[in-house]
Symmetry: C2
Subunit: 260 residues, 2 copies
């Protein structure tokens, strides 16, 4: 049996993680460790200045998993180190309510939970459905099962995780699967200025994703075209092209040697 | 005059951002927009579920900048969209109290502030000093000035930022500057279990960086060897090597076509 750690960023009471855990229980021994409340857009935050609490969470009068008063990355660390007390074979994060394509990968708690596993050299999958008002996570649950089995058999390069996005359409309309790259689409966002009941200003982030991906190898375009998008991502942020370029700058001369 | 937006993750009252803003004021028009309290290790979190407040912050009876009740990435968004109301020429984040090398880049609020600028195609620099008990940020401030002038002249590839780490040693012991890559050193961390005055358990993250970089092209090794480390990083997380490998997997066959 595969030992599977499941987490998310929508919180332990979200429908997506419930469907995911139930689906994965068919192929492995599942341990759920997830935030006690929603943690969307927390990125790869971890909690260092405050302690964490852990409590058991029950769903339909059955023990479901461990709720942690922290971020998705905290949950994965805590799950591995203090709850499972051994390395799982795979970590699966999701099923997220809303897509995690293109620039959203940077802000995503769902992806960061999986990335925390990849940092620890554990294969990991983040899985999301493209709509916030998802009614049926069953198909995405089946995708997660298939990919877990595939990863268990094929392996992943150390430090790599799969970021999976499933279109929120009826299963029979899904055209297939595509291996993709992180898209270039970004948010056009702004802060709406409002006034509270006491006359003080406050600001609320709003905006929309500007579709900038028209190539099917990009996650955002593939998902929009009704494919399940699977993007291998890693946490080596070095821009090798700029590295090569900057090495030719003769920096010591540019900066007058060590005397700056 | 360069228009410079300055932020950090240690909070607007930290010594590092004060020295940085003062140093950069010599070469540009500086706008400071920083978190109202410490936001270390928040990664690239942004605030969507709550509104933000903005207040003016004074230091030594002089207006210093704008304090925002959010994350470093929030501050940069807010600074560009609602405070400066125009794109700055460059965004500089820091000077961070503590190094941001190797895996720390992933968790760093300092780096994320600069990365938020890079996402918006604005050149950006994150700068850190390697010790948490820094007494003198002056040298790092000079490095920031030099690099701002260099970036203003040379430019950076769109989407690229510079992650700079300065050893916390007397200036005369600095050996020079090195263009580097993100190191492989990771944390060996665990949660210390404690009991509160009411008999309930809580958990606190602790650990240390395991030095795994012995090549001078790696940020962690360069800084340890008394060089200023300058790493060009970006936010394209695609693992191209795994992408090529997985494209050869014949996924449709592996996953039995669309019928999963």
């Amino acid at each position: 049996m595969l030992k599977i750690l499941v987490s998310n960023d929508d919180g332990i009471d979200a429908q997506g993680i419930y469907v995911l855990a139930k689906a994965l229980a068919k192929i492995g021994e599942v341990t759920v460790v997830a935030p006690h409340k929603e943690q969307s857009a927390v990125g790869h935050a971890i909690t260092m200045q405050l302690p964490l609490r852990v409590s058991k969470y029950y769903k339909n009068n059955e023990f479901f998993g461990y709720a942690v008063t922290g971020t998705p990355a905290d949950c994965v660390k805590m799950g591995i180190k203090n709850i499972m007390k051994q390395y799982p074979d795979i970590v699966v994060s999701g099923i997220n309510h809303g897509s995690n394509t293109a620039i959203n990968i940077i802000y995503s708690g769902t992806v960061s939970a999986a990335r925390e596993a990849a940092i620890t050299d554990i294969p990991a999958i983040a899985i999301s459905v493209t709509s916030h008002e998802v009614t049926d996570f069953e198909y995405a649950g089946k995708v997660a099962v298939k990919l877990c089995k595939l990863v268990a058999r094929k392996g992943l390069k150390k430090g790599t995780l799969l970021n999976v996005n499933v279109p929120d359409i009826p299963a029979e309309q899904i055209k297939g699967m595509k291996i993709t790259k992180q898209g270039k689409s970004k948010w056009d966002d702004m802060y709406e200025e409002r006034t509270d009941p006491y006359g003080r200003n406050y600001y609320w982030l709003k905006g929309g994703l500007i579709e900038a991906d028209d190539d099917m190898i990009m996650d955002q375009k593939a998902v929009k075209s009704n494919y399940v998008s699977i993007t291998p991502i890693h946490f080596d942020l070095t821009d090798n092209e700029s590295y090569d370029e900057m090495c030719s700058w003769n920096l010591t001369k540019e900066l007058d040697g060590k005397e700056i």
